[in-house]
Amino acid sequence: MQLLEGEREEILACVKEVLGNNSIERENLIPILQKVQHRLGYLPALAMEKIAEGVGVPEVDVYGLATFYNQFRLNPPGKHQVKVCLGTACYMVGGDITLESFERRMEIKEGETTSDRRYSLERVACVGCCSLAPVVVVDEQVEGKVTPTRVDGIMLALEEDGDQSGSSSGEADSETGEAGTNGNS
């Protein structure tokens, strides 16, 4: 993932601050990764390199840790975050097919972010409304019974949001409103 302008400095400053001046033991790696992710939104490779350097462990160990736990993300959150539920109920009614549809439409794999950082795609385990399975959470909006056809609809709504060059709250409202209607119909 290409770093944005000024992001490099932000990452370096953040890691430096989180590490502080004290020597850090290996067992503190997880809280450090959590703090860095909390502030940057994800764990860029550069941050992992600097953390490894600061803690004195091989870089690949930090990478191994960050990939071991689901709580860590290695790609930045996209402007629109799509979370596909693969809990038991959603999985049984084809949540994996829904996920695949998104992967095809976004041309990324689960856990990744498009290179323009517009979309990020994740899998989650149960959002708590299994009767609507398969469930997808688009930004904060819950979408129920998401078939591949519905995936096209969701993507269309998200794409339109961009065409109107909208980052204003009004745009976002109309988008969620529309999505909500579709979800209930």
Binding site: A45, M48, P58, V60, V62, Y63, G64, T67, F68
Partner: protein
């Protein structure tokens, strides 16, 4: 003499140094126990390959011999119905995502999996478990050797050699469970990450995952 213990393995009386692990004591006495991940110098073994099970009299369940220290008066059986069953299942699981194209594998005839199959009477083919196919990228960036992850058994021997013999810290594991795999930082080619082609990891690999190019 207090540093010595006497134990019985497969009805044979054996003397061993206190603190030694059962697996290595047995192997030194020509008693075979299948194993992949065990490292003799490692004080706390991973015990992750699940192949070195033995029965110890007085214990409810078979234990991994690589992580069990010998004790005075221990009575050990290296084979039993329960042990064989555990080993068979462990072995089949290892094979379930293993590239079983032995004929074209550089480790053919020197592969630990083949040794285990032969010694334990197991078959080198997919049986109960549906084979998992993955498209790992071949990393042939180092000058002398290459890494083919489709043959990796996740034993961790290369990672240990990389840390303790080569002192490089280039290899490690990523992901969890069934997706766990040997890799480098950010999955970069090994040669880009300060790998100096010392090939300690290749010598440590019990299968054909890390191999010398000229042999392939």
């Amino acid at each position: 003499m207090s540093n010595q213990v006497t134990l019985t393995i497969n009805d044979r009386e054996i003397k061993a140094g206190k603190g030694n692990k059962l697996l290595w004591v047995a192997l030194e006495n020509d008693i075979y126990i299948p194993h992949l991940c065990a490292i003799k110098e490692e004080p706390r073994p991973n015990a992750s390959c699940r192949l070195c099970f033995v029965e110890i009299e007085g214990r409810d369940k078979p234990v991994t011999s690589c992580s069990t220290e010998v004790e005075e008066g221990m009575v050990v059986k290296t084979r039993s119905e329960r042990v064989d069953r555990l080993v068979k299942t462990g072995f089949e699981l290892l094979l379930s995502d293993h590239n079983l194209d032995c004929r074209n594998c550089p480790a053919n005839r020197s592969c630990s999996l083949q040794v285990i199959a032969k010694k334990c009477g197991l078959k080198l083919r997919h049986q109960r478990f549906t084979p998992i196919e993955r498209d790992y990228e071949l990393d042939d960036s180092p000058a002398e050797f290459a890494l083919d992850r489709s043959r990796c058994v996740r034993c961790g021997q290369c990672v240990w050699a990389d840390r303790n013999e080569a002192k490089a810290g280039v290899l490690g594991f990523k992901n969890r469970g069934i997706d766990r795999i040997v890799t480098s930082f950010n999955d970069q080619p090994l040669a880009d990450l300060g790998c100096n082609s010392c090939a300690h990891c290749v010598d440590a690999c019990p299968v054909g995952a890390l191999y010398y190019k000229q042999k392939a």
